[in-house]
Symmetry: C2
Subunit: 155 residues, 2 copies
Amino acid sequence: MEDALTISEVADRSGFAASALRYYEREGLIDATRTPGGQRRYDRHVLRTLAFIAAARHVGLTLDEIRNALALLPSGRNPTKADWTRISRSWRHRLDAEIAALEKLRDGLDGCIGCGCLSLQRCRLSNPRDVVASRGPGAVFLPESLHPAGHDGPR
Amino acid sequence: MEDALTISEVADRSGFAASALRYYEREGLIDATRTPGGQRRYDRHVLRTLAFIAAARHVGLTLDEIRNALALLPSGRNPTKADWTRISRSWRHRLDAEIAALEKLRDGLDGCIGCGCLSLQRCRLSNPRDVVASRGPGAVFLPESLHPAGHDGPR
DNA sequence: GTACAACTTGAAGTTGACTTCAAGTCAAGG
DNA sequence: CCTTGACTTGAAGTCAACTTCAAGTTGTAC
């Protein structure tokens, strides 16, 4: 069958580096069969999974979250359109939340930093929950909906 | 003068861990004077800078970018409202761009993954720049293999 | 004047998502 | 059969943005 793709073919077609594909396999996000000699061979099916992973990473999901999402796919049969729709639906919420948070931040800019009132005590920009850190280390400010800096796509 | 804050006071008031404040100082984002014994003392002014840093991190700027932004502030006098406005203006663009990208992604979800057409060749979700490797032979992995399941609309 | 919390430093550790490397093995064309 | 490029592995390196640690010093309350 012509279904068997080598790792470099998958790399070329998916845009992921071969090393990333091996990493994803170790992490349990994709799988591959092996030739008698031990080299990986991929079903074309993996390209769709990789497209999903790329989009999910784009949205800011961690590999851990993506693994969980992929676990919702049926293991036996090929995923249907409804399957993909179901697991991508949660992104909607995440995206909506992120967009809302960013818009709030943007609108806050004009009223808060823009007006020069940037105050730790009052400003919801820098202290959105008005919670002063007695909580754990770091990242007190960042609502979870926002992905931290260093948002890099694949490759 | 009551302007001199210890590192733990600044930590409490800003929400940053003391270790982060030392790190930011090493990285040139904030500065501190020293007691004769070598302990840090901060001007209250630093709280505003930290609020700026927190908000900027929130937007997704790297410390490097933030350092550059802070460099635009006048070094001698206290920053005025106009100064903060000026350097935060670029965030507007960044935020607008991020929001636009997320909205595009979200809207793409319904049309792209949502409809089950998730295709590496065409989908702007996974292939946002429309950079296609060699225009391969046709629809290699278009959802022929997928069940033509009932049309469940988005949402 | 002493106890003790708060502070100091440099170095090393952490996390996530990979990449790079070294040294060896496999697959396919001629 | 031979060559050559693609592939394999585990280990180690990278990056940002910190945190943690160990060992020693300072500030201040009593």
